[in-house]
């Protein structure tokens, strides 16, 4: 998961229990969502009693924060693996959608309604930058130099969100548009807003992606 290499056997055991707790937490999140995550229920399923978990996590908020961090890590790895397999921007889009459909509640944990008691550690913004970097790698080849919209200049000015990735302004703009548009259709699909409408989310996603790729590139 994350912290595996340990010096003392104590830390080794501690890390093992931590990941076991997180596994149960993910299972619970996938079932009923993050709002229904209960330390007590996790303890019960682990055959251990209530407050024992507080030796491993300061509280519910710290556990959720850790889960969010692992979630970002999982997404970043998934996208990077897809890119390594030669996926273009379209391939990344489908990798993203596949990852989201795999566990909708996990997607909402990262990109849905913010969790009240949670404040993002610097760690996650770094992983987020990593995600943006793989996006930008795929965008770099697709854009023409040409337009240079006024907003692209603003994006170039603060390119810290992409880890100072050396991409042309048009690529920055494309990556940002990719993110917001894919998130738009995906989050509405996962929330079930299309089921009542009898609309096929896959077709809508494909159409939105197609429209995004048509204007730029080619």
């Amino acid at each position: 998961m994350g912290e595996s290499n340990a010096a003392t056997p104590r830390e080794r055991y501690r890390a093992q229990v931590r990941t076991e707790i997180k596994e149960h937490a993910w299972e619970q999140i996938a079932t009923a969502g993050a709002s229904a995550l209960s330390l007590n229920a996790i303890a019960k399923r682990m055959g251990v009693s209530g407050p024992a978990l507080y030796r491993y996590f300061a509280g519910r908020d710290e556990l959720i924060t850790e889960l969010i961090r692992d979630g970002y890590r999982s997404l970043a790895d998934t996208l990077r693996a897809a890119a390594a397999d030669g996926a273009d921007l379209s391939g990344l889009a489908h990798a993203l959608r596949g990852w989201a459909l795999e566990d909708p509640h996990r997607y909402f944990l990262l990109y849905g309604t913010p969790v009240p008691g949670y404040h993002a550690p610097d760690d996650t913004t770094a992983i987020s930058s990593e995600i943006m970097a793989t996006l930008l790698d795929a965008c770099a080849g697709l854009t023409q130099e040409a337009p240079a919209a006024p907003f692209a200049a603003h994006l170039e000015e603060h390119r810290g969100w992409a880890g100072d990735h050396p991409a042309p302004p048009a690529a920055l703009h494309l990556a940002m548009s990719f993110w917001t548009r894919m998130h738009g259709v995906l989050s509405l699909e996962l929330a079930g807003h299309f089921t009542g409408m009898r609309i096929d989310p896959a077709q809508l996603f494909a159409a939105e992606l197609d429209d995004l790729l048509r204007q730029r590139s080619a």
Copy 2:
């Protein structure tokens, strides 16, 4: 709010208390979000004790369902008022963003992470269709007949989501794209994903809207 006209004074009083409860609930939601909504806290602020509220709402879920219904009603009214004032699609976009920024937690209550114990009543889908109808009114004039993409045909097939609005397929496609794209940027902005990036959400929103309007119309 909703149920104002009452026959008997009993029903009048009942309706008044219900709206008072909802007002406190909105206040609480605007402060700490829907997940922190507590019937007990509402009762305490109303100077009444605990279970008294169960005379007016069957439970937390019914209250939240009612709030969601009122939220949709509020958004539909806001957009319709803007349209009546002569707002075009761009105007509707800014009306939507203004409404969302006015109370971010309200937006997330409608379009964010789905609430576990809640199932949308038929009522809200009707209001949702009303929202789509005002969107389609603004889209009808902007589109050329031309393209007729394969996805637009699918949208035309099930046009129930727009209340069977008599708009050309291209307009249906534009309205759907408008919805998903505006939601994409808005939800990420409201969740605070841009603040860490030093990106101006207003400029991103404007750029996304501009891009949406440029390809169609003109």
